[in-house]
Amino acid sequence: MNETFQLDGTSVPFEPGQTVMQAALAAGHYIPHLCYHPEFKPHGSCKLCTVKVNGRTVASCTMPAESAIVVESDIEELNALRRSLVQMLFAEGNHFCPSCEKSGNCVLQALGYDLEVHATGFRHLYPDRPLDASHPDILLDFNRCILCELCVRASSEVDGKNVFALAGRGITKHLIVNAESGLLKDTSIALTDKAMQVCPVGVILPKRVGFSVPIGERRYDQRPISEQALDDAPRRTDASGNCAACEGTP
């Protein structure tokens, strides 16, 4: 490991095959992200991880690390862009945090806090997608979905069940359940599935366990996501870019 690139003025080592995001997180530098997850292939939909590489804006989760490139991330221009992206996601869905079971444990909300988003400022869309409460153990609230596709990826790649998919185009794009009835009860999803664990917002929820953690002890109550994401991120990777430390982490 002797190749490096510059990130906000510091030197970041990387191994061949790593993306800018992977190398940055491994070296302890946080780049805001929402659809990126260390255990899955990059997705590139949230755009929160946008950085400037040699002056051009690119998604750091998909940008291969290259020797001697100059990467800017924590600059006001990009943080303002990230703020707008978070605001757009909030305006697109029904993110009524005061009654959401994921509040305090939600990645979108924690990013809003970290980026000092006070309000959306956009016209709210108030989508009207019915809940799917058909499954005995699991509830789906589609109006909070940010289309990160983590559940889609987890269900097909890890669980081997292919329970979820995205359907539709443009603003009507939405999460669906892969069953003839379209209902979760007609799939083989289980509480122990990876797809249950990866939703960064309050779409996929286990029934009857909401509001179980006291306020003050929830995941993002005490420390901002910029610190926690580094705890979660793999620190070592093998030559092929696979992460040994990721095994078994939720």
Binding site: F96, P98, G104, Y113, E116, A119, H124, D128
Partner: protein, 179 residues
């Protein structure tokens, strides 16, 4: 001595929780009263908002009277502040945006069991509900937002003291929350 700043407050489609959180600044309210005087507010008897420096509005906009009051505040306040989740994105009351207003009223006033001689109130004295609940910024320009349901007293205090000191209010980590 400088003139005291004039502060107006009101609750539209709110629960008065933001005002309660405001009062949670406790004895700091006495320090605040050295710096400001109140125009129209639910904590005094003034009926209409006069020229003010700061207007603080909790609650979204859910009926015709809310629209009138909000316009009155915007017209009279140099700085208009949306406080709380309802004012910012409609809040939990905006969960009725899924529903047809007519069927809401019918269920509550006509078909709900236990109603004797129920009818949907129709006196012109009563403001008509809007078909949807709206955040304040969809009706008038808002200068600042204090998020939270409600925002903590510390957030409200920090915001107001910054603003009164002539600084751009900054909440920072721990004081920004949406729940």
């Amino acid at each position: 001595m400088n003139r005291k700043l004039r502060v107006a407050t009101t609750s539209l489609a709110g629960c008065f929780g933001c005002h309660m959180s405001f009062l949670d600044i406790d004895e700091r309210l006495l320090a605040l009263l050295d710096l400001v005087e109140f125009d129209r507010s639910p904590i005094n008897d003034i009926k209409h908002c006069g020229p003010s420096d700061i207007g603080i509005v909790e609650g979204g906009v859910c009926n015709a009277e809310n629209v009138h009051v909000l316009h009155e505040f915007r017209k009279n306040c140099k700085i208009l502040v949306a406080i709380g989740a309802c004012a910012i994105n409609g809040g939990l009351p905006a969960q009725r945006n899924h529903l047809d207003l007519g069927s809401c009223l019918t269920e509550v006033y006509l078909t709900e069991p236990g109603l004797a001689h129920g009818h949907i109130p129709n006196d012109p004295e009563l403001p008509l509900p809007l078909d949807k609940v709206h955040p304040l910024h969809e009706v008038v320009k808002i200068d600042y937002f204090i998020p939270g349901c409600p925002p903590s007293a510390d957030a409200i205090w920090k915001f107001l003291t910054d603003l009164i000191a002539g600084k751009t209010p900054e909440l920072g980590h721990g004081l920004i929350k949406y729940d």
